[in-house]
Amino acid sequence: MNKQPRAADFGLVVCEGCDLAVRQPRNNEEGFCPRCDEPLRRRKRDSLTRSWAFLISAALLYIPANMLPIMHTQQLLDRYDSTILSGVVLLWHNGVYDLAIIVFTASIFVPILKIVSLAILLIATQRGSHWRLRERTQIYRIIDYVGHWSMLDVFVVVLLISLVQFGGLALVQPLPGVMAFGGVVVLTMLASMSFDPRLMWDAHANANTETHSATDAAPEANIQTAAAAKP
């Protein structure tokens, strides 16, 4: 794999608050960004521990979120409780395939994808794996991006509660499953925000420290121009 010079090798750090590249004072680990006053950190604080904590909570809460019904529907004499999955099945049976696929993706596929792939990323990072770093970073970017779309089903329930209020004729009420599901979405978002993808690349860089200690004196010489690409 071609090696790009890394900020850590030159004592540079990127500010979390404003994206500025800052040269970190040598002895002082915790400086502040000259532009936005944010504390400078080489890596996100306690990244792996926090990410694991949020992820394990999310995985545990995922069980009641899917087992418990999320809402109770009442239409004249017809009463039933629906879960996340049964809502998707109902849409599919009614022939609304496109929406069924969207809801399935947002409510079932994305949460599982997030929990499983974040767990894989965390384990691989802890083991210092060099395996497919570029693809792993891409997966992280995807799960970080799609996270909040899972809130879809929560919003649907909120809207249905309010619109379907016809006393004895028709009524929708929320059930505990929807709170568990909202919790899963928030926790997976926090888990992916806490994870620091640079830790994956640190393992890769540490394996090649000898090649880099020599270039420490002249950082500019190693810096290449970013490849510009049309979108």
């Binding site: 970073t137 909120v158 809207l159």
Partner: protein
């Protein structure tokens, strides 16, 4: 101490020298493929215009009912706050609070703060509390979920179609417009505003 002409990839920590980009170009990290920065997509004026447009759409989305539902001769309609209050009154109050934060308070705060910062920067003035406002904007961004709520409205309307006659009302169009404008506004990076503030500071020094 600051190295303004260097860029560091936030995903893999690679360092690059910043170069000028032509319109629509994006600089990507050659190591991990993440976006480093992109050519400026909107001027301060355009961003302010988007903000003001979004505020109008926000008012429409909140004042007008989202949809009306008719069943057995009775009809029922609700706007965003009725929806939020109904779920706060239900047995699942936390999700009502979640909806209030992610669909109302965070987007509204974001828009007001954008209007404040942009109108000052536009006149080459760094407003009081600039740093605090910019940090708040950054931290709120992932928690503003207008676009997800918009999709939720669509799913709810389709779900109700076979139970009763349902009509999307002006609030829905307000949310559609708000989704579009906020997406455009959020495609501009906050670092452009930081850079602008730097230029104003160095010009006045």
């Amino acid at each position: 101490m600051a190295e303004a002409n260097w860029v560091i990839c936030k995903f893999c920590d690679s360092v690059y020298q910043r170069t000028a980009l032509a319109r629509c170009e994006i600089a990507r990290c050659s190591q991990c493929g993440a976006e480093l920065y992109h050519a400026r997509r909107a001027s301060i004026d355009a961003m302010l215009a988007l903000t003001i447009g979004s505020l109008f759409a926000f008012v429409i989305a909140n004042l007008f009912p989202i949809a009306s539902l008719e069943a057995q001769g009775r009809s029922n309609e609700a706007n965003l706050w009725q929806v939020i209050i109904d779920s706060l009154d239900s047995s699942a109050a936390p999700i009502g609070a979640l909806a209030a934060m992610t669909v109302f308070f965070f987007p509204l705060t974001q828009l007001c703060l954008f209007a404040y910062v942009l109108s000052a920067l536009r006149m080459d003035h760094i407003p009081p509390g600039f740093r605090l406002v910019m940090h708040t904007l950054r931290q709120m961004h992932p928690w503003a979920m207008v676009e997800v709520f918009m999709l939720g409205v669509l799913v709810a309307v389709v779900k109700l179609k076979d139970v009763a006659s349902v009509t999307p009302l002006n609030g829905t169009w307000g949310f559609a417009a708000l989704t579009l404008l906020l997406t455009l506004l959020n495609s501009c990076h906050l670092s452009e505003l930081w850079d602008r503030a730097d230029r104003i500071k160095s010009a006045s020094a």
